[in-house]
Subunit: 90 residues, 2 copies
């Protein structure tokens, strides 16, 4: 499989792992996003104040303000964070 | 490295491979985008009319209309195409 599709398959697989936990399997609820951030981005959320931080992430990601985070919105998070942490071209 | 960063590293590596060919190494020119589409998405461009199709892709990707495609704009292409071709959640 072309390299780029490998990257998309990784993103999709990770998204499905968390989005499928409750309710709509194609979107992340706030609780699912929190679990993903805690597990996949260890250390990103400061211990004491997780929920407020999750609220901020959720609001930033939920671009169409429908109360859920879809796959493209999730991917934008990963790419933006990856750029910050992985010295990608700005 | 966490799985998600592997995906971002793949996207970033591919982007740098083409963006570094001419001019600004942090953005894709139309010529660089054409080379990327022909190589990484084989068969996406119908042979006879590549330039018009590349123009359409370029316009769709160049969200901020600055005449160049940056890494986040490029990643949006890959994710959208990947979703179409890889049965990702819509």
């Amino acid at each position: 499989m072309p390299e780029l599709f490998t990257a998309v398959a990784i993103l999709s697989g990770c998204f499905k792992k968390y989005a499928g936990t409750d309710g709509d399997p194609n979107t992340l609820s706030k609780a699912e996003l929190k679990k993903l951030l805690q597990t996949e981005f260890e250390g990103l959320l400061s211990k004491g104040n997780d929920n407020k931080e999750v609220d901020r992430f959720f609001e930033a990601l939920d671009q169409d303000k429908n109360g859920k985070v879809d796959f493209v919105e999730f991917s934008t998070l990963v790419i933006t964070l990856g750029m910050a942490l992985n010295d990608c071209p700005k």
